[in-house]
């Protein structure tokens, strides 16, 4: 049987109040070891206060080819941005 350890994606919360952020991946036999390895590989210099690991095969990603149908519609909706509206200067900060 091929015994290569599965691949895990690692997410680290850098500071309290911030979201976990993807930092890289690593191999480990199970989730418990993946957390231990992530601590050694990705937080040697105080980079985090919390670690998430998830098996790489369990992640569903959007396909690069779907970029246009997924994201182009929002490009056209410029009225979703505050800068779309001109507020007179005398009204002050809004």
């Amino acid at each position: 049987m091929k015994n290569e350890w599965p691949l895990w994606e690692v997410f680290i919360r850098g500071q309290h109040g911030l979201a976990h952020r993807h930092v890289g991946s690593l191999h480990a036999p199970d989730a418990e070891m993946a957390v231990k390895n992530a601590r050694d590989v990705y937080t040697r210099r105080n980079e985090g206060v919390s670690i998430w690991v998830v098996k790489a095969i369990d992640i569903t990603a959007s396909a690069p080819g779907d970029k246009e149908p997924l994201f182009d519609p929002s490009n056209a909706k410029i009225y979703r941005h505050p800068t779309f509206y001109d507020i007179p200067e005398e009204v002050g900060h809004m």
Partner: protein, 330 residues
């Protein structure tokens, strides 16, 4: 560099007109500095060249632990020992970041390891030289890591996203490596005549191998043009080498050490140092496997791989059993 002789397609880069539509769209994105991400379309040559380059780089980090690991048990003080352990651990981490970057291109970690052990994948020539004295640990940090930083800083701009991100992380950590090396050299150079002679001897032995780290001269580097067009090698070997010499010579002067090159001279006209010819024959021999430590290094990697087999298998068996028990309980 850490990837010194990466074979690319061996052909000159195509012009935009000669490219098929997919390839042209790809090249235009690269030209516009848009990063390429794992699942996106890429030319087969780009993928293969990157796998070679990143795996060579990763293997270098891993094999690079061996010459320094040699001195962990004999570091002169407890502080130096703790620092050296931290540095060697960093090198292991760098290897892991890089293996993961390569894996996004569709090659597995085990395949890469097997290629290294079979002698099919290379690692940097520099790690085939022995560390004879404590001063060598200083020289490696100062020169070898200094050269590595010079290479890696420009690779942060590489067109392939995962490789570029690994480089950003590595560069952040690498500066400590160079500074701790220079710190060792400063200490030795401020010490007894014997200690200073030891530092000079280390510089004498590591200088030329360090210059060789940047790879063969541009004229002989057949694969560079394509790699530069793909932006997986932003600067040429000779440019980086010159930059390294210009940066390092004043640092040697500060230590009161003499760079072992009688032809080394400041060239006011081009604001850089002229330096003597490099023995490329030695470089090619070391790459071919005939350096002082090639055999020892590969044997050490092979032994680690073989001795770790029961451990890798054991943990995997444990994970499977635990998983099966959990499934049964649900």
């Amino acid at each position: 560099m850490y990837a010194q002789m990466v074979k690319s397609t061996g052909e000159r880069p195509k012009t935009l007109d000669e490219m098929a539509p997919d390839e042209r769209a790809f090249q235009m994105r690269v030209d516009a500095d848009i990063k390429i991400e794992p699942k996106e379309w890429m030319p087969e040559g780009y993928r293969k060249t990157l796998i070679r380059q990143i795996s060579q780089h990763a293997h270098s980090e891993i094999v690079g632990q061996l010459p320094e690991g040699n001195w962990i048990t004999r570091a002169p003080t407890l502080d130096r020992k703790a620092i050296l352990i931290a540095k060697v651990q960093d090198e292991a981490g760098h290897g892991l970041y890089l293996y993961c970057a390569a894996e996004t291109l569709g090659v597995s970690r085990d395949e890469m390891t097997e290629q290294l052990l079979a002698g099919k994948a290379k690692y940097s020539s520099i790690f085939n030289y022995p560390t004879l004295t404590w001063a060598d640990i200083g020289a490696i940090g100062w020169l070898v890591d200094g050269a590595a930083i010079m290479n890696q800083v420009q690779l942060q701009k590489c067109s392939y996203g995962p490789y570029s991100r690994a480089m950003v992380r590595i560069c952040k950590e690498e500066s400590f490596h160079q500074r701790q090396g220079y710190d060792i050299m400063m200490k030795l150079c401020a010490g007894t005549a014997e200690q200073k002679a030891m530092a000079q001897d280390a510089l004498d032995r590591w200088w030329h191998p360090s210059l060789m780290m940047f790879g063969p001269p541009d004229g002989d580097s057949v694969h560079s043009a394509q790699s530069m067009a793909w932006k997986i090698k932003p600067m040429s070997n000779d440019e980086l080498r010159q930059k390294f010499v210009d940066q390092t010579v004043p640092q040697a002067d500060y230590l009161g050490l003499k760079v072992p090159d009688p032809e080394l001279k400041w060239n006011e006209a081009r604001k850089g140092y002229d330096f003597g010819a490099i023995d490329w024959n030695e470089f090619h021999e070391v790459l071919k496997g005939n350096g002082p430590c090639n055999k020892e290094r590969l044997e050490a990697r092979q032994k680690a791989w073989d001795d770790g087999q029961w451990f890798r298998d054991g943990l995997m068996a444990h994970a499977r059993k635990k998983n099966a028990r959990k499934m049964a309980a649900e």
